[in-house]
Amino acid sequence: MHLHLVRHAIAAERAGAERDAARPLTAEGKRRFRKCARGLGRIGPRYDAIVHSPLLRAVESAELMAGLCDDIRVDDLLARPPGRPLFTLLSELQQQGAERLALVGHQPWLGELAAWLTIGSTEAASSLPLKKGGVIWLEGNPVPGGMVLRASIPPALLRSMR
């Protein structure tokens, strides 16, 4: 399986009583991420599924990736630290035939997930940089220690892919 861990685009700062979960993307965040999504479209065929977090900034980022996939779904597992239920979900999607999958979520959880999937622990999670709009690309079997790192792509590089 090819797995892209995509960090949401730049979101507005929290204003007043607004809940963190309801922070939208900024206009600039949308403009830049639209280009990132175009770059993602350049580096491979369409996704079999995109799974995103329910936080508004992830929902809006997934919306900008809608042209890359017909099966976009939300899951609460992407709004919390990674654990066994998320590995189960990845295995189920793999069994259903998903070979190219994107998860749109948040730091530090995406970094922790990348560490789990590549080295089987979260010890080195913070050493893998993942900027907003950036992607960690993994390949292999989505179980702890079952994947290898193909690339860590910063948003500026994605935006420059034409």
């Binding site: 809940r19 979960a21 309801a22 939208p24 995103h52 977090s53 329910p54 936080l55 508004l56 929902v59 997934a62 919306e63 809608a66 099966d71 976009i72 779904r73 939300v74 899951d75 609460d76 597992l77 992407l78 709004a79 239920p85 979900l89």
Partner: protein, 246 residues
């Protein structure tokens, strides 16, 4: 007309009907859950959002199997078909309960909670688009001359388009009795067609033949009623252009 249209009332409805849908004692729980999910899907369509639509479709689909079987079991049925459908409904209910307890549903509810209100202007534009869809579906019904069966398929597509239009107008605070009347006539035809599709579950030929004959006659009547209701309401719903294709 309000300047913005919040999702909140339908989201509260969806949350409110979840316990009854999970409990399963009253078929209304699952029915109302699906209705709330449809209303929300139309709100998303008016907002031109593509995310979460697939999740609402998934929710309607898992609830739909239970609801379809509930509706069929309200009809007078041959005894063996009734017990076969009841067994299938129990299986569908177990699947539904699993899905209602999933993190996908938790995520869907949380995501809907985070959406900001829809502008009334976008909603009005969306309603105009849906009127066009209804007009096209209606013209396809009127042009279909190949067979009754083919025309019933067109009526089914019209029914779905009308339902979206009805909910869209409700979001704008408009209530259209003609639309509801027409939907009822088309809904009756759909329920009978659904029942006919399920007849394959019955292996008692004698019982099947008698019941199928009776059902075919009821479908023919419902077909005529549905067409008459469409012709009566179309001018009111989509303007005079639809009338020209008669």
């Amino acid at each position: 007309m309000p300047r913005t249209i919040p999702l909140r009332p339908a989201l509260d409805d969806l949350r409110g009907h979840l316990p009854a849908a999970l409990e399963g004692l009253d078929p209304e729980g699952v029915h109302q859950l699906r209705v709330a999910a449809r209303r929300i899907a139309v709100w998303l369509e008016l907002a031109e959002r593509r995310t979460l639509a697939g999740d609402l479709h998934w929710l309607r689909k898992v609830a739909g199997e239970v609801r379809d079987l509930d509706v069929l079991m309200m009809q007078p049925l041959p005894e063996r078909l009734g017990s076969e459908l009841a067994a299938r409904r129990d299986g569908a209910r177990r699947e539904l309960v699993d899905e209602l307890e999933s993190t996908r549903l938790t995520g869907l509810l949380a995501a809907l909670e985070n959406l900001s209100a829809l502008s009334a202007r976008s909603a009005a534009d969306g309603v105009a688009r849906l009127v066009d869809v209804v007009r096209r579906r209606g013209e396809q019904v009127d042009r279909e001359r190949k067979s009754s069966r083919a025309q019933r398929r067109r009526l089914h597509a019209l029914r779905r388009a009308l339902r979206r239009l009805r909910y869209a107008r409700e979001w704008l605070g408009e209530n259209d009795p003609a639309l509801k009347r027409l939907q009822t006539a088309l809904g009756e035809l759909n329920d009978l067609e659904q029942l006919r599709r399920r007849l394959g579950l019955l292996d008692d030929r004698q019982q099947l033949d008698d019941f199928a004959r009776e059902l075919a006659a009821r479908i023919d009547d419902a077909h005529v009623d549905a067409l008459a209701a469409w012709h009566e309401c179309r001018g009111e719903l989509v303007g005079k252009t639809a009338g020209r294709s008669r």
